[in-house]
Symmetry: C2
Subunit: 228 residues, 2 copies
């Protein structure tokens, strides 16, 4: 039992090394990379389906890596929307790590990609510790999960740049105080941005998609030597 | 990285040893022990609140150990219902293990207890691997999480004896096929029992509470030398 901490530290150090390589690769190509993290069933895949469908008509070219313990279901769903999507099946591991992402990119060429969405394994705890080379971690909190989650799972909220308050269409049926959830999340991460979303009915995904496009443009403006 | 598997195996072997001691302690006292596992926000704490409130008027004496990464909120909620409840704050660890339960029992005497509920950390992955000495693992799947979860997170469904299909009051608003979820769960665990529950409106918690009482009586009947 005494070995646990050092082994975990070494694993995380090695992960950070691989993640730094990924970050450099994304930066060199001007790719904006989002690491999407939530509980199982918070709505990550549905959000990505709606996002890809909306981007289909724009100049932004997207790609998705989607992680799951088992099944190829999410990639099957995502591939219907006109962009490449690759499943990473972790076979029991409760999070994605940078090495899994690096291996997956052998089968998902980055050329011509503007935004890479990485959909993590559904887990509000472990994925928070693993840097995947992303520009930003986005935590999805659905209103059916309860407004007490930011203080109960502070790790991911502390590391996130954006929180999507999702399934807002179900708010009338849920016991959820959005103001309390936002206040608690900002107690652990004062700079956290918040966008309200839903896949069925208002407010939709428009504000989230606009946020992605703004962040992509900002990255391109800050790194003018990158492609295209 | 190559050390990871053996270390994990040793940790699990040590956990199994401690769990066997807990199981013997529960058995010797005729205590029926439930290990409740779900995603964050599936409704474990609310189910336990309703369960304790219902048991208050019965002859069954309950106690709760509730695990969280951070905060004492759940134990605060649970203590209002007339039974002892103790928080285990894991401080970052994504699951309860048997040693945490054993330590907690120093502060929660088992004498006179009939049913011990252990509310695990909200996580559909890691808690499945850790035996806590329980009689049964109960997985809670809320209908707002999507019916694809049993095949995407098979580990916990394989090890569970009962699945609570929860938040059934929200079914009219959710895109969830209960028959598909049950069929998929039974593909990984053919003997899985299923009970539909809700905390607000029908069907309520009655069938679940009756299930607990039947299992307690069956354990007492099978181990006649145990207390009360």
């Amino acid at each position: 039992m005494t070995e646990r901490v050092p082994v975990r530290e070494n694993v995380l150090k090695e992960n950070d090394r691989v993640a730094a390589g990924l970050r450099a690769a994304f930066g060199g190509r001007g790719i904006f990379c989002v690491n999407l993290i939530s509980s199982p069933g918070a709505g990550k895949t549905s959000i990505l389906e709606g996002t890809l469908e909306a981007l289909r008509g724009s100049s932004v070219r997207a790609a998705v890596l989607t992680g799951d313990i088992q099944t190829e279901r999410d990639a099957d769903r995502l591939r219907r929307h006109g962009f490449p999507a690759l499943q990473i099946t972790t076979g029991g591991t409760c999070h994605l790590d940078a090495a899994m992402v690096r291996r997956a990119l052998d089968s998902l060429p980055l050329d011509g990609i503007d935004v890479l969405f990485i959909e993590n394994v559904g887990n509000l705890v472990c994925p928070a510790s693993y840097d995947l080379g992303e520009d930003v971690k986005v935590v999805v909190l659905s209103v059916t999960e309860g407004d007490d989650k930011p203080l109960k799972y502070p790790g991911i909220f502390r590391r996130a740049g954006l929180m999507l308050l999702h399934k807002m269409d179900l708010l009338p049926h849920a016991r959820f105080d959005p103001a309390a959830a936002v206040a608690d999340a900002r107690r652990v991460q004062p700079d956290l941005e918040v966008v309200e979303t839903s896949c069925y009915g208002a407010p939709g995904l428009g504000a989230w998609i606009a946020w992605v496009q703004r962040r992509l443009e900002a990255k391109r403006a800050a790194e003018p030597h990158a492609q295209p």
